[in-house]
């Protein structure tokens, strides 16, 4: 692989990761809006028992 094609490949990878990141940030924005509504309306979902005990493991 010559230098130019290698550079092109790196650029493509970074463009792909950039798109991935933009999607994730935009999706997080929507999530945040939904969670805020839930907090405001006191409609946060209950945590299932098994997940609750999983999350309750001790912090150092």
């Amino acid at each position: 692989m010559d230098v130019n094609s290698s550079k092109k490949e790196i650029k493509q990878i970074s463009e792909a990761s950039k798109d991935m990141l933009i999607d994730a940030l935009n999706s997080a924005k929507k999530t945040r809006k939904r969670v805020r509504e839930n907090i405001k309306n006191n409609t946060l979902p209950e945590i299932p028992k098994e997940i609750d005990s999983f999350l309750s493991e001790e912090v150092a």
Binding site: M20, L25, L44, P45, E46, L55, S56, A60
Partner: protein, 260 residues
């Protein structure tokens, strides 16, 4: 400032140029190392106590054991903050700072996109600089030792790209190396954040609060009732516990962090 001369109105006035924040990993030890062994012994009272200090005992506890009637303490423990700095609160922050926190909490500006270098929006840039500036300008209003949660629904491709699949106990981890990250004192809120999306890995990060690099923005948040603490970028932790599990075909990951 005290008067310089009795019956005189002259004063000492301190002149400071821009203060550069220096982070010392172990300030007690680095201060002690500036003294000779004999001076160190005089400071703590005996060689036995000096040995205790070098074994990790807190110097204030050593002092207070010798003079229990006259205990010493840190300025931030006595006054709640470093007397030389303003403590972060809704009463001390400026209008612009309130505006930037509102923009952060109501997502009216793509601040995080700017922080990650994928937006050049001027307003987001301004908010971003203001938000990072808060951590240097004000001392923290966060009480230490409180459990904080951060819930995320990470898309499968990003999960691998970000290296979550390779995280193990003992490795270093930062919640975000480019942007501010938010934590909640409510487990239910973190769960709801992670709840989102079908083809996503659920990640919950758990830490104990510390009064450095963290600000509790609950009182100034535009989101009613959301107990939110923000953490500045590039703060590194050590993973002390990591567990993966599957519930109803959904993959969950718990990461417990300890400040380095």
């Amino acid at each position: 400032m005290l008067p310089l001369h009795p019956h005189c109105h002259c004063r000492y006035i301190g002149h400071y140029s821009k203060v550069h924040k220096i982070v010392v990993k172990n300030p007690q030890l680095s201060t002690m190392q500036k003294f000779s062994l004999n001076e160190q012994r005089q400071i703590v009272g005996s060689y036995a106590k000096l040995q205790e200090f070098h074994n990790g005992e807190d110097i204030t506890k050593l002092f207070n054991r010798v003079r229990p009637d006259y205990p010493v303490g840190f300025c931030h423990d006595v006054f709640g903050y470093n007397g030389g700095m303003k403590k972060f609160s809704d009463k001390t922050i400026t209008h612009q700072e309130k505006k930037s926190i509102t923009a952060w909490t109501d997502d009216s500006s793509s601040i995080k996109h700017f922080m990650w270098g994928i937006s050049d929006d001027k307003v987001s840039k301004e908010h971003s600089e203001t938000l990072f500036g808060l951590f240097n300008k004000y001392s923290s209003n966060v009480k230490t030792g409180k459990i904080l949660y951060r819930g995320m629904a990470v898309p499968n491709n990003l999960f691998e790209f970000m290296g979550y699949d390779k995280l193990v106990k003992g490795s270093d981890y930062t919640p975000d190396n480019k942007a501010i990250s938010s934590f909640s004192s409510s487990k239910k809120v973190a769960y709801d954040f992670a709840f989102d999306g079908e083809h996503k890995q659920k990640v919950i990060i758990k830490i104990k609060s510390h009064n450095e690099d963290m600000l509790d923005i609950t009182s100034v948040s535009s989101a009613a009732k959301e107990e939110e603490t923000i953490l500045t970028k590039n703060i590194w932790y050590n993973i002390v516990h990591i567990r993966k599990s599957e519930y109803g075909g959904v993959k969950w990951m718990l990461i417990v962090l300890k400040k380095k």
